[in-house]
């Protein structure tokens, strides 16, 4: 399995338009994230409550040994959304948020395994290739609303289950950690 950094590099090289869009967004919003990302500076420190900590092999740390993200930082990343069936809800629900790979890229993460840890200490290992193979969402919103802890929030790893029968399996359901708090990159 290729390493995450290599995959990241290749993604960056093959997607210049997406990067240009990032730069434009950075300029307009006056956020330092994109600049930091581009220039390899440390990630800006979170201003609000930390929702996600990326630990382990992290190049762009903004805290000791880790990269912390608050909601604003996550919202500053390119946003995606899709509606899908899930095992947890009876009907199709819409999920929105940044792509997991953009989050990891922002953190400068490199490794082969992602250890997802939830608020209740639920732990699951996700292959580092998954976010690149699939359009894996780090959902911040359900039906355009912030998710409370009581509603499996605040962060929910969502695979595009409707895209492939393979994704509609226990393997990927179990990787879809909710109430996500931490990602340990190994």
């Amino acid at each position: 399995m290729p390493t995450l950094s290599a995959l990241t590099a290749s993604v960056d090289a093959t997607r210049p338009t997406s990067r240009r869009r990032c730069l434009a967004a950075a300029g307009a919003a006056g956020l330092s994230l994109a600049l930091a990302s581009r220039d390899g500076w440390a990630l800006a420190a979170p201003a609000g409550k930390v929702l996600l900590s990326v630990t382990g092999h992290v190049a762009s740390a903004n805290a000791p040994q880790r990269a912390d993200f608050d909601l604003a930082m996550l919202d500053a990343l390119p946003q995606h959304s899709f509606a899908t069936n899930t095992p947890w809800y009876k009907e199709v629900r819409k999920f929105s948020g940044p792509l997991l790979r953009d989050v990891l890229s922002a953190a400068g993460a490199s490794g082969s395994t992602l250890g997802a840890i939830a608020l209740n200490n639920y732990k699951v290992e996700i292959p580092a290739a998954d976010p690149h193979k699939f359009k894996v969402l780090l959902a911040t919103r359900l039906d355009d609303k912030i998710m409370a802890v009581r509603d499996k929030g605040p962060l929910f790893i969502i695979y595009p289950y409707d895209d492939s029968a393979d994704l509609r399996s226990e393997r990927y359901y179990s990787r879809s950690a909710w109430q996500l708090r931490k990602i340990d990159v190994k």
């Binding site: 608020l119 802890v149 009581r150 509603d151 499996k152 509609r168 226990e170 359901y173």
Partner: protein, 829 residues
């Protein structure tokens, strides 16, 4: 397998369109297989759907959810207990104020998160989700209600969004209310575990059933496949057996055909062998026959009373007839075994017809019939044809005509067909081919249509009655037609019963220039003296031959020296080298081959003199020996003048072989010109039987005291070779021939006498050379019977016993006497 083939009815002979049991089975099994595959596919699809149900189920692992609920419950309870106890212990000194003291921020936040997490678990075990899978009873609903109301009651205090300050006192009711919930949550967790385990068991049962069903179907499918394979194998085996049967049949057929082929070949070989045997036997039979004829002649010539003489004459005629039959058989055998060769050469057609006429004249007159010979003016004198065979055909046809005609006349008409022949001409290059018609007609009994159809078939002779009446071998017509066809022609017949028959021989023959030597008599003087005079040497032990060659060559304008053996010849050459040597092969002292070898050893020019062999042997090995000895050419005895002329022309140019000059018109024994008249020019007997005065020749070795001879027409052909006599007369003139003949018959050279003495003395060893000398001379003079007897003695004399010697001597005397008598009768002597 092969044995079964003819008797096995069964599927091999099934009607087209009717399927055999095997085929029906095959179809049934095929349909079964398709159904089995469909069933297996269905079962597997069912299994997949069960598994994906299970997957969804696993995703909502209820058991896990209940366990999580319990776990979160315990953590929340612990959190609350800790908060209450911690605040109470920290304020133990002042109990009243401790209960009211607020918790620090992080503990509060953690507690609130615990509460939120606990609340979030509630939805996972809500009826909304669990109802899809299992019923957990009234306890479940009741618990849900209790939990929901509990959370609702404490939301204001513990919710994430709540902002009120947490104190132990405030938390106490939440903890107190939480405690009693443990029992139902734990019970539900266990119950859920049981229910779900039961469900899993049911699902596993279903999967097991499905698997069993799939297994059964697979087994069924396997059995069907096996059946399919077995039937297919059977079909294949049947097919292979069928093929091998067919193969066997084909082999059998081929074997049969090969057998038939080999049987046919065997039969053909046997037939061939039979023909060859017949030919050989006929040939062999002739020898004793000649002996018998000789003895009969001898007997006839002895003193007999009239009755005895008649008996002997009858016996001799019977024997003669038998000999004719034998000759016919010999011919037919040769024809069948393919040994009969046609040898075309330039022939004087008019003379040939004259000869036939002469011979038939006698037979016709015997029966009191008129004989008409008519040769159309446009018929050429010279044609290229096998004269001997043409004569044989004409003799046969005319003999038949005479035989089957009692009164009236017999005719031979030779003409050229109006239209050009469409058949294959023998010679298309040099001279034009002419379609000649030889029509032999008679006023005889005629032939019915029915008989005509098989007239030319072997052994058919009109019908049985004519056969009895007229005799004959029944082979004559077949031989004639075979010969005609061999010569590229055919014989057709037209007949009206009671009025007569016409046999027409159609031959397409190339005409040739009448310039060959046999036309010499008319070519006359033109080239006299123009040719080079050659110095020639003739070596031959027989004086008649020497004399013949001397006269012949001298008349051609050459100078001739003679030698009687090889040594003399060598001496003569050494004395003066001649232009050419004619060398007999069989000579006393030194034979021709030895002499030739000696000559070839001499220095030039004597060593290079051209030598022409003269021999009566025509065997190819003789030719080989001749050329091995160094001889240049080869002439067969009796030597024909045109052969000598041709040889000289070849060696010394055209003029050397020029026609004879200054020949006096001979009173030729055969007609030189066409004979349109019915009267033969040949002095010939006009009656069948006559007495010939025997010339008294005391010096003759032959007993001449015999009775006057009686001759029949065929005797001429038996004793004399008119072709040779004619050739000799052409070569040396009639006078010359007379001289040669009288010298031979009066035995000037004493060769006959020596042979007779040797026979009388039974000196077998001497017989061959003596006989050779006699027969060589006889052949040259056209004395056919003596020649034949001489050859017989030469070939077989060594093995004669005394009786045979005596009989042969008597026969020889008889032959000489007959020849003399016949020659006298014909005016040669």
């Amino acid at each position: 397998m092969t044995q079964q083939l003819p008797t096995q009815p069964g599927p091999r002979q099934r009607q087209p369109g009717h399927r055999g049991p095997n085929q029906r089975w095959l179809i049934a099994v095929g349909v079964g297989l398709v159904l089995a595959f469909a069933a297996v596919a269905w079962v597997q699809w069912r299994q997949i759907s069960l598994l994906s149900d299970a997957a969804r189920y696993e995703g909502d692992n209820l058991s896990w959810s209940f366990f999580q609920l319990e776990s979160e419950y315990l953590q929340l309870r612990d959190g609350l207990r800790d908060a209450c106890r911690g605040s109470s212990s920290s304020s133990s000194s002042s109990s009243s104020s401790g209960v009211a003291a607020p918790l620090d921020a992080s503990t509060a936040a953690a507690l609130r998160q615990r509460f939120e997490l606990f609340a979030s678990r509630l939805s996972l075990v809500g009826l909304e989700r669990t109802a899809r899978f299992a019923e957990f009873g009234a306890g479940h609903t009741r618990l849900l209600d209790q939990l929901t109301s509990y959370i609702k009651r404490h939301d204001g205090l513990l919710a994430d969004a709540a902002s009120s300050t947490l104190t132990a006192a405030a938390l106490a009711p939440a903890l107190a209310e939480l405690g009693p919930l443990f029992e139902p949550i734990h019970d539900l967790s266990l119950q859920a575990n049981q229910v779900i385990a039961e469900q899993v068991g049911r699902r596993n049962d279903a999967v097991r059933d499905q698997t069993r069903l799939g297994l059964g179907l697979t087994l069924f499918q396997s059995l069907l496949t096996l059946a399919f394979a077995i039937i297919t194998a059977r079909q294949f085996r049947a097919l292979r057996q069928r093929r091998s049967q067919l193969q066997g049949l084909a082999d059998h057929l081929q074997h049969t055909r090969q057998e038939a082929d080999s049987a046919r070949l065997d039969a053909e070989a046997a037939s061939q062998a039979k023909s060859a045997f017949l030919a050989n036997m006929s040939h062999e039979l002739r020898t004793p026959f000649n002996g018998m004829l000789g003895m009969l002649a001898l007997l006839e010539s002895s003193a007999l009373d009239a009755e005895q003489a008649d008996h002997v004459r009858t016996a001799r005629e019977s024997a003669k007839h038998l000999l004719d039959l034998l000759n016919d058989i010999l011919d037919i055998s040769k024809l069948e075994s393919g040994r009969l060769d046609i040898a075309p050469h330039p022939v004087d057609l008019h003379r040939l017809i004259g000869e036939v006429q002469v011979l038939m004249q006698m037979a016709a007159q015997t029966k009191g019939l008129g004989l008409t010979v008519n040769v159309a003016p446009e018929v050429p004198a010279g044609v290229v044809v096998d004269g001997k065979r043409l004569k044989q055909i004409l003799f046969n046809l005319m003999s038949n005509a005479v035989k089957f005609t009692d009164q009236g006349r017999v005719g031979l008409a030779v003409s050229v067909a109006a239209e050009p022949a469409s058949g294959t001409p023998l010679d298309t290059q040099a001279s034009p081919s002419l379609a000649l018609r030889f029509a032999v007609s008679d006023t005889g009994i005629g032939i019915t249509d029915m008989v005509l159809t098989h007239l030319f078939q072997r052994f058919t002779q009109g019908d049985a009655s004519t056969s009895r009446r007229y005799g004959g071998s029944g082979l004559g017509l077949e031989i004639s037609r075979s010969l005609a066809r061999l010569m590229g022609g055919d014989i057709v017949v037209q007949s009206l019963p009671g009025e007569g028959t016409t046999f027409t021989l159609a031959l397409t023959l190339p005409a040739c220039e009448p310039e060959a030597n046999w036309r010499a008599a008319e070519a006359v003087t033109t080239v006299a003296g123009h040719g080079p005079m050659l110095d020639l040497l003739v070596a031959d032990d027989h004086p008649v031959n020497r004399k013949f060659m001397a006269i012949l060559l001298a008349r051609m304008g050459h100078r001739v020296r003679l030698a009687s053996n090889g040594a003399e010849a060598v001496a003569a050459v050494q004395q003066r080298t001649p232009d050419l040597v004619f060398m007999d092969l069989h000579m006393p002292v030194q034979d021709g081959l030895a002499a030739t070898r000696q000559l070839r050893a001499l220095p030039a020019p004597a060593g290079q003199v051209p030598i022409v062999a003269l021999t009566a042997d025509v065997f190819s090995e003789t030719r080989a020996r001749v050329s091995a000895a160094g001889m240049d050419h080869f002439l067969c005895k009796p030597v024909l003048p045109e052969a000598i002329a041709a040889t000289l022309a070849q060696l010394f140019g055209h003029h050397a072989g020029a026609p004879l000059s200054a020949v006096e018109q001979p009173a030729s024994p055969e007609p030189d010109r066409p004979v349109p008249s019915t009267r033969p020019t040949l002095p010939s007997p006009t009656v069948t039987e006559m007495t010939v005065p025997q010339p008294a020749t005391p010096s003759s070795p032959v007993d001449s005291t015999a009775q006057p001879r009686r001759f029949s027409a065929s005797d001429v052909a038996t004793h004399l070779d008119m072709v040779v006599i004619g050739d000799v007369c052409v070569g040396v003139s009639l006078d010359g021939y007379r001289r040669l003949l009288s010298g031979f018959l009066s035995d000037d050279a004493a060769s006959i006498n020596r042979l007779l003495h040797a026979l009388d003395a039974a000196s077998n060893a001497e017989l061959a050379p003596l006989a050779h000398a006699v027969r060589g001379a006889a052949a040259s003079l056209g004395l056919r019977a003596i020649n034949a007897l001489g050859r017989e003695i030469e070939q077989h004399g060594l093995g004669y016993d005394a009786a045979q010697c005596q009989a042969t001597a008597a026969q020889l005397r008889e032959q000489v006497r007959n020849a003399r008598a016949l020659c006298v009768r014909m005016g040669f002597l």
